[in-house]
């Protein structure tokens, strides 16, 4: 069924989303927006892993669910990353009174 859709298409879409996330990380000034862009990139990588698992595993009999396990782990890591990221942003906001990554320019704390 889904073998109709070639692997390349998934990879291109994932690359596209990843690049958009990268663009967001570079241009957005709000730290939460930066975090969202990072989420985009993580999702792109997830899509890649799953596409390779489903459509590109060289030897499917060997490790039937490796891609799925990895994607699950990446999802967990992404959630943990957002949790800590927002905590850090709150601390930064408390210190600098601003939500602008450009202003976070000292490491004095």
């Amino acid at each position: 069924m889904s073998q109709d859709v070639p692997l390349n298409w998934y990879l291109i879409v994932a690359a596209c989303v990843f690049v958009i996330g990268l663009f967001g990380v570079m241009t957005r000034r709000n730290p939460i927006a930066v975090l969202m862009s990072i989420e985009l990139m993580l999702n792109a990588s997830n899509l890649n892993i799953l596409a390779f698992w489903r459509l590109g595993t060289p030897n499917p009999g060997e490790a039937p669910l490796t891609g799925v396990v990895f994607t699950a782990l990446v999802i967990a890591v992404a959630a943990a990353e957002v949790a800590v990221g927002i905590a850090l942003i709150l601390v930064c906001y408390r210190v600098w009174k601003s939500a602008d990554v450009d202003r976070y320019d000292s490491m004095l704390g």
Binding site: S2, A80, A83, L90
Partner: protein, 119 residues
């Protein structure tokens, strides 16, 4: 097979969107609309609203959302464990207990420093 099951979910999703949007469209046609500046104001028991609505909220909300995220991810891992528990041995049980114990440590920590208190 998988796809055809979710086809129904997709159909139902579209249907639900239609079902919810249809009354909204309907009331745009049949319900009266006579907006006045006073009507458009924010409801605040007859008083003029003061200041900005989108204010900074308290930290407490974030703490609970954070705890929720962590425990949500945990339960997502609990489901496959529980579903395959039948065919697993005692080591799976121990593994999951270690996993749960670690998260419980987190919960106990949050409790101990008073983060679970709604102030």
């Amino acid at each position: 097979m998988i796809l055809s099951r979710y086809l129904f979910i997709g159909m139902l999703l579209l249907f639900a969107i239609g079902f919810a949007v249809a009354p909204l469209v309907l009331i745009r046609i049949i319900a009266p609309r006579r907006p006045t500046p006073h009507k458009g104001q924010t409801v605040e028991c007859g008083l003029e609203t003061q200041g900005e609505t989108w204010i900074r909220f308290r930290l407490q909300y974030y703490i609970f959302a954070l705890l929720f995220v962590v425990f949500d991810v945990e339960t997502v891992f609990l489901y496959p464990w529980a579903a395959s528990y039948v065919s697993l041995g005692w080591y799976a049980f121990v593994e999951m207990m270690v996993f749960l114990a670690m998260l419980t440590v987190g919960l106990v920590y949050a409790w101990a420093i008073g983060a679970l208190k709604w102030q």
